[in-house]
Symmetry: C2
Subunit: 299 residues, 2 copies
């Protein structure tokens, strides 16, 4: 098995997947009117980034035995929801961020009103992608995916986590609350990525359960690494304002556990996440490599 | 037929429908966490109002021969989308309104950040209502409804209309642009109300087509009346700031056409809307009465 994994060219896989995703994202926005709205949506949706969420979706679809092509609209939908959350999080009334992926944030370019509306439009478009723009998947399955997306993006997931996060700014926060925030704010959508991809691929309960454990692990690890990078990396490398957690007096893993223990915990979570996929040693190679990629990233 | 219409007790119908809708709205929000988010969502969703959109949905479902009960989650979803648009429209960066339905607007009570997120959560929850909380309707039909909702709420509908509306503030606007704004900002969702209700009820193409004409007519008439009321009614009666179109120097129907011609145009639109339902004289009574109700309202 060790050898088999070694023979899997992750860099090539990542490059190909990213190209597929970029092309699909570029094609996903039709001739929205008015132009300003379309530009604002495209500005943030096509701002680059790791495209981790859509790639996780595609990888889970393939692990379940599905065709990558059929998962593309859902992969795009997941990136649209993620982009919406970034646009709204960056607003002056929330995190008040001027920089994102090395460029001015959406509201800095288009104004607060259009930024809010572009977020709304991307969130809505995500549901259009799955309901109208997906072909060759049974309706019951698409309906399940829409259910997963709605739970992950809304109050039970992303939005709920963001409200708790805002509430905790400047307060003493314990590890349990910190985990609650991340499991909702980041974890719920990451879980939806693999779940929705697997549903497109026709996964059974056993695989869905394993992917759920996998997603929880990489979700938390992802956030711990984010916290670590905020302390250790420069703004130039991150493409967003570094050290802003410290400035905002936000509770982070490094603050609660120290840098070394945070790093150790992230490694442990990734190891656990990977072991959930043990029953599928061959087919899970992309997801295993993605888990490592998440913890070794420097931005 | 005249007599049959006379025998239909619209006041009783409206009262019953409104009670069903209020109960369904009240039950629609589960134990969202954190409490502040739940409160903010409930504050605006349960703020009263005519409940025109959900009632149109229920009436269209019944006209198509469906059971009202099965259309309730979709009716709630439509009101959630409408509520989201009100919360976001009222924000300081948009219309900057302090008063809505006689109470402080959402952001005045919960702050801008929570108001934005409550809107996001309501929009997302709308899709949850249809995808997860609807029973006894074939998946293909629910998927169609989700498609209709996504088009009506997003860039091709409500959000697109709002961006053009904001863009036109303080500018000279012609009748064509004014109609474009209203057909998107208000009309698209009103059309979705009857279309989605009719889909739940299993409507055929002929009925869907007629309802689409009906919705276009009442949608535009509704907006003309809104413009008229902004000029003629007091803030006390409206429950929102009156005269704000004048203050914001917005182009309105009264401004372009005068009050009398605006009123005449609204009446004509309603008459056209009603005649589209001629082939269903008995079953369309609630929708016919709702059309009159819209033009005779004083708030």
């Amino acid at each position: 098995m060790q050898e088999a994994i070694a023979s899997f060219d992750f860099a090539e896989y990542l490059e190909k997947a990213r190209t597929r995703v970029e092309d699909a994202l570029d094609a996903s926005l039709g001739p929205e009117k008015p132009e300003k709205l379309r530009e604002s949506m495209r500005y943030s949706l096509l701002a680059g980034g790791k495209r981790l969420r859509p790639i996780l979706c595609l990888a889970a679809c393939e692990l379940a035995g599905g065709e990558l092509e059929k998962a593309l609209p859902t992969a795009v939908a997941l990136e649209m929801i993620h982009t919406m959350s970034l646009i709204h999080d960056d607003l002056p009334s929330m995190d008040n961020d001027d920089l994102r992926r090395g460029r001015p944030t959406n509201h800095k370019v288009y104004g607060d009103a259009v930024a809010i509306l572009a977020g709304d439009a991307l969130l809505t478009r995500a549901f259009e992608m799955v309901s109208i723009r997906t072909e060759g998947i049974p309706s019951e399955r698409l309906l399940k995916i829409i259910g997963e997306l709605s739970l992950a993006a809304g109050a039970p997931g992303l939005v709920g986590g963001q409200v708790v996060d805002l509430d905790c700014e400047g307060k003493e926060v314990d590890l349990e609350t910190l985990e609650y925030i991340h499991l909702h704010k980041t974890g719920a959508l990451l879980k939806a990525c693999v779940t929705c991809g697997a549903l497109i691929g026709g996964a059974d309960e056993k695989l869905l359960e394993a992917l759920s454990i996998y997603a929880r692990g990489i979700g938390l690890a992802f956030q711990i690494i984010d916290d670590i990078l905020d302390v250790t990396a420069s703004s130039e490398v991150l493409g967003k304002t570094a050290g802003k957690d410290l400035i905002a007096d936000k509770t982070t893993y490094p603050k609660l556990l120290g840098l070394d223990e945070s790093r150790r915990r992230a490694d442990l979570l990734v190891a656990k996440a990977k072991s959930a996929l043990d029953p599928w040693p061959e087919k899970s190679k992309p997801l295993l490599a993605l888990a490592d990629y998440i913890t070794s990233r420097d931005r």
